[in-house]
């Protein structure tokens, strides 16, 4: 067991090292942009999965991103706050909304919860589109400021003029958020969420407040969606209601399901693969949805538990083949 743990730690460390020095070798802005988008999608997919650990599929992530995005932009532009303070506050704004609607929402089972989160996301989008005074209406908000510069004299000065600066920002942000989410999931809280998912009646009979834990999971998941949204608009310097539509929520769901919901690393892998695929498709941009649909169907029919379950599937297939050979011998 210990050897397995140390090899895992070593490979994670190596991965971290590679990620840290990547911008030294990858200098094209377009490629760095893809890396940044991967970062955002990883955070979105992992936070969506956190909600799913309590047994509920949410399609509200786009709306929560939107709430985070506009809150942060407005806090900075109208409230004069620094981006560094606005971003976490934006996450909190999304979380507060999630908790408020969460209490009635989590009473709904299965597909009805999913439906109502879809409606919520759509509602947010329509509000953002209509409330010109607050959100700038369909054209949104432009010229959103960059994060304030961080300088350690003599060492470095990061002013977010180049994409590489944003890359390091999202890298550190994602690492911290993943750490937080993993800490939650591997704690008794995570175990209770999993219990609630497997049987909420049993969990209730044993003293667990199923509804309360579902609201907790929903709130925390939406917090990270809000933070992602805030980062997104400070990176692109523009916020626009159509960036946060139904399609985005379904894409995040896809990252999670294709990567695999059973393990923490699943959504990460899914986000990486599905962010890169459309870029590689390149000239076939119009066919991107076909490719996505094909991948979705392949996974859902042949690898139900996602890409991350592939090693185990292969191992099991090998074992079965070996036992079959033995019985033949």
């Amino acid at each position: 067991m210990n050897r397995k743990k140390s090899t895992r730690a070593a490979s994670l460390g190596a991965l971290l090292l590679v990620l840290l020095v990547l911008p030294l070798f990858v200098t094209q802005p377009y490629l760095i942009h893809i890396l940044i988008m991967i970062g955002i999608n990883v955070l979105l997919a992992t936070s969506l999965r956190f909600i799913a650990t309590s047994g509920q599929l949410s399609l509200a992530h786009a709306g929560m991103m939107s709430v985070g995005a506009y809150t942060s932009a407005l806090l900075v532009m109208k409230g004069g706050l620094s981006v560094w303070i606005a971003m976490p506050l934006a996450g909190i704004a999304a979380m507060i909304l999630a908790v408020l609607v969460g209490f009635p929402f989590v009473r709904l089972k299965g597909i009805y919860f999913t439906m109502v989160t879809l409606f919520l996301s759509e509602f947010i989008r329509l509000i953002a589109q209509q409330w010109k005074g607050l959100t700038g209406g369909p054209s949104g908000i432009l010229d959103i400021p960059r994060p304030g510069a961080i300088a350690i004299p003599g060492l470095f000065n990061v002013d977010f003029a180049s994409k590489a600066d944003y890359y390091y920002f999202i890298l550190i942000l994602v690492l911290v958020c993943l750490l937080l989410l993993y800490a939650l999931e591997s704690s008794r809280i995570g175990m209770t969420l999993s219990s609630v998912r497997q049987s909420d009646s049993l969990a209730e009979s044993l003293g667990m407040d199923a509804a309360g834990f579902r609201v907790l999971a929903f709130g925390i998941g939406c917090f990270f969606a809000g933070v992602s949204g805030a980062f997104y608009v400070h990176y692109l310097s523009a916020a626009n209601p159509d960036s946060f539509g139904f399609l985005l929520s379904t894409y995040v769901l896809m990252y999670m399901v294709v990567g695999g919901m059973r393990r923490f690393s699943g959504p990460i892998i899914g986000a990486v693969i599905l962010t890169i695929v459309p870029e590689v498709a390149g000239g076939l941009r119009e066919y991107e949805p076909f490719v996505f649909a094909a991948i979705l169907l392949l996974i859902i029919f042949f690898l139900r538990d996602g890409v991350v379950s592939l090693p185990e599937r292969i191992r099991r297939a090998k074992k079965e083949a070996a036992t079959r050979l033995e019985s033949k011998a």
């Binding site: 599929l57 009635p104 929402f105 009473r107 709904l108 299965g110 597909i111 009805y112 999913t114 439906m115 109502v116 409606f119 919520l120 759509e122 509602f123 329509l126 509000i127 589109q129 209509q130 139904f246 379904t250 769901l253 896809m254 399901v257 919901m261 119009e286 066919y287 949805p289 076909f290 996505f292 649909a293 979705l296 169907l297 996974i299 859902i300 029919f301 139900r304």
Partner: protein, 282 residues
Amino acid sequence: MWAQNLLNGLTSGWLYILVALGLTLVLSIVGIVQLAHGEVYMVGAYVVYFFCVVAGLNFFPALLISIVSVALLGVLLERFFLRPFRSDMEGAIITTLALILILQTGIITIAGPGYKDIPSPVEGVLTILGARLSWERLMTIMVGVVLVIALLLFIGKTKVGQAMVAVSEDRDAAALVGINVNKISSVAMFLGCGLAAAAGGMTGPIFNLTPFMGGFALTKGIEVIILGGLGSIPGAIIGGLILGLVEGLITPLVSIQVANIVGLVVIVLILLFRPQGLMGHE
């Protein structure tokens, strides 16, 4: 003036009813929330466009072709993409999302993303008591009424129809008494997609077609069945009429977006506080 709004409301209402009936048939008999139902509606509209505008057929034959071909397409979809996920909600969501992508992108590839128009098969207005009612909309309502009556008769008077009711109430019990649940699911899908295609086809002359019109239809369909009660056919009819009429009469006073927002809020409130809708049983 208000007569026109009333007519518009009734027209939308009957279109919503057709979509919602299809959705509720699939939901209660096939057992899946068919998120791609809006895309089926959209494909129905485009098939009419192709046969009517591109191939030069008359509107009504084109509509008939659309209804039958889309219904058959639905049967195929149910057999291969929906049936395996009857008890797997997450899987069902993913497959229907994949279908949305395929159908939408397919139409975009064939017909392009821009607006298309289907010329109206009937021109002119009927003038009653000073109100000018477009024949187009009256025809839509009439066709809608005929289709719904046909469906009600089918369900009430035929063996297959009764079997459908049985499956919708208790699939296992129905199987136990010898009903071929798979065959009934296919029939339900055939009818449901046919109704959606009919609605799509009749939308064409009134509104523009776009490959993205499916989402709107799905939202309205879901709103109607939540309002009227999931799995309830009378509920879908009453719900559709209410939604259509309210929209027809309220929208001219506010804007269409505000009407949409209010609609969403009402639906969510119903889901939370009276989830069985107006006529459902829970």
